[in-house]
Symmetry: C2
Subunit: 196 residues, 2 copies
DNA sequence: TTAACCGCTGAACGAGTGTTTAACATCCGC
DNA sequence: GCGGATGTTAAACACTCGTTCAGCGGTTAA
C-alpha cells in the first residue's frame, strides 16, 4: 500500500486477548521478574503464536507500558480513596505495603533503569500518585483527622510509602532483621499522628 | 582421573584475570543492569574467550556471588568505621546514600528475587551489615554522641538506610517529587539526634 | 627429558530470543 | 454472495545465550 512505511497491521484496543496478554505479563513479572518476560515467553504462556503478541503491542516495550498503564488507573483510584479514610496516614502505609504492589513496583524500577521509554512512563505515573497522596493527606490535615506535629504532608507521603515498600520487599526476600523494632516505632508514630 | 564426576578443571583464586572479571561484571551490573550480564557478554567485554569465564566461575551464579562477596568486605569495613564518627547517624545516612552502593544493591535485590542461591547470600550479607551498623549506633549512644529520643538504635538503622537508599534510587530515575521536603525533615532530625 | 600442571582457546551443541512476511480463517456490511 | 476488515498463524531470518570438550603453548618440578 502507498501509505507511510512505518505502518504494520495492528489489533484493536479492547480485545479480550489483548487484555489477557496484559494480565498474563503482569503475573509473569511478579512471579519471575521482568527478565522472564519476552514476546515468545508470553505467547507460549498464553497459548498463542508469538506474532500475535507483536500484533497487539508492536514492540516489547509497548507491552510493558501497557501493563504499567493498566495498573496505574486502579492504583490511583485507591490512593484517592484514602482521603476519606478515618486514618489516612495509616491507610497510606497499608497501601504501599501490599506485597503485589511492592513487587511490581520493584520490577518496573529495575526495568526502567536501562530503558528510557519505560523510565519516562514510570516517573510520570509516580508523580501522579504522589500528587494524589499529597492531596489526600492535606485534606485530612485540614479536617483534623491528621496531626503531623510540624512535618509537611509531602514528607509524610514520601517517607511512609518508601519505608513501607522497603520493608515488604525485604521481608519477601527473607530479610527481617530489625523489622520488629521498626514496625513498633512506626505503629507508635501512626497512632500519635492519627485521629484523636 | 578416577575422581568424582562433578569435577571440571578450574582456575585458582588469586589470578589477575579473575579479579578483572569480577570488577568488570560489577561495572556492567551498575551500568546496564543484571540482565546485561552473561558469560559471553562479560567475556567479550574482557576480550577473552567465553570458556575462560566458566573456567573461573563454573556457573553464572557463581560469578554473581563473587561480585557480591568482594563488595561486602569493603562495605562492612566502612560500616564499622562509622562507630568512631563524630556524628554516626549522619554518617550512616551518607553511607546508604551513595549512588554506587544503592545502584548495585537494587540490582542484587532484583536478581535475588528469583535466584535462591543468590538470595541466600544477599540476606546473609545484609544481616552482617545490619549487625555492624547496630553496634556502631549503640556504642555512639552509650558514649553520648547520639540521642534517639526514645527510638531504638535498630529502628534508626533500618529507617535511615532504607529511606536514604530509596531517595537516591528515585533521584537517579528522575523522580524527585517531594524529596526536598523530605530531606529537610531528615536533616532536621539528624541535627536533633546528633552530638550536642 | 619427561610429566604434570596451568592459563587459555576454538568449535560445536542445543536452545533461546525479537521481528517480519505472507497467508489462512472468520466475521460483517453491503 | 462478495469484498474487506479482523484475529490468528507458520515459517523463516539473523541473531544471542550457557555449557562442554578436546587441546594448545608455556612454566615448573622430578
Amino acid at each position: 500500500m502507498g501509505g507511510m512505511s512505518a505502518s504494520r497491521r495492528m489489533g484493536t484496543e479492547n480485545t479480550e486477548t489483548r487484555q489477557r496478554l496484559i494480565e498474563l505479563t503482569e503475573r509473569l513479572m511478579m512471579e519471575e521478574g521482568y527478565a522472564a518476560v519476552g514476546i515468545r515467553r508470553v505467547a507460549r504462556e498464553a497459548d498463542v503464536a508469538p506474532a500475535l503478541v507483536l500484533y497487539y503491542f508492536r514492540t516489547l516495550d509497548d507491552l510493558f507500558i501497557a501493563v504499567l498503564r493498566r495498573g496505574a488507573e486502579e492504583e490511583l483510584a485507591r490512593q484517592r480513596a484514602i482521603a476519606d479514610d478515618a486514618d489516612p496516614l495509616r491507610a497510606l502505609w497499608g497501601l504501599a505495603g501490599r506485597r503485589g504492589a511492592a513487587r511490581i513496583t520493584e520490577e518496573f524500577m529495575a526495568l526502567g533503569n536501562h530503558r528510557k521509554a519505560i523510565r519516562a512512563e514510570i516517573t510520570a505515573q509516580a508523580e501522579r500518585y504522589r500528587r494524589a497522596q499529597l492531596e489526600s493527606l492535606t485534606r485530612a490535615q485540614d479536617e483534623g483527622r491528621l496531626d503531623l506535629h510540624g512535618a509537611t504532608p509531602m514528607a509524610a507521603v514520601v517517607i511512609s510509602t518508601a519505608l513501607s515498600r522497603v520493608l515488604v520487599m525485604e521481608e519477601e526476600m527473607g530479610l527481617t532483621c530489625g523489622h520488629e523494632e521498626t514496625r513498633t516505632l512506626v505503629e507508635d508514630l501512626l497512632t500519635r499522628m492519627g485521629p484523636a
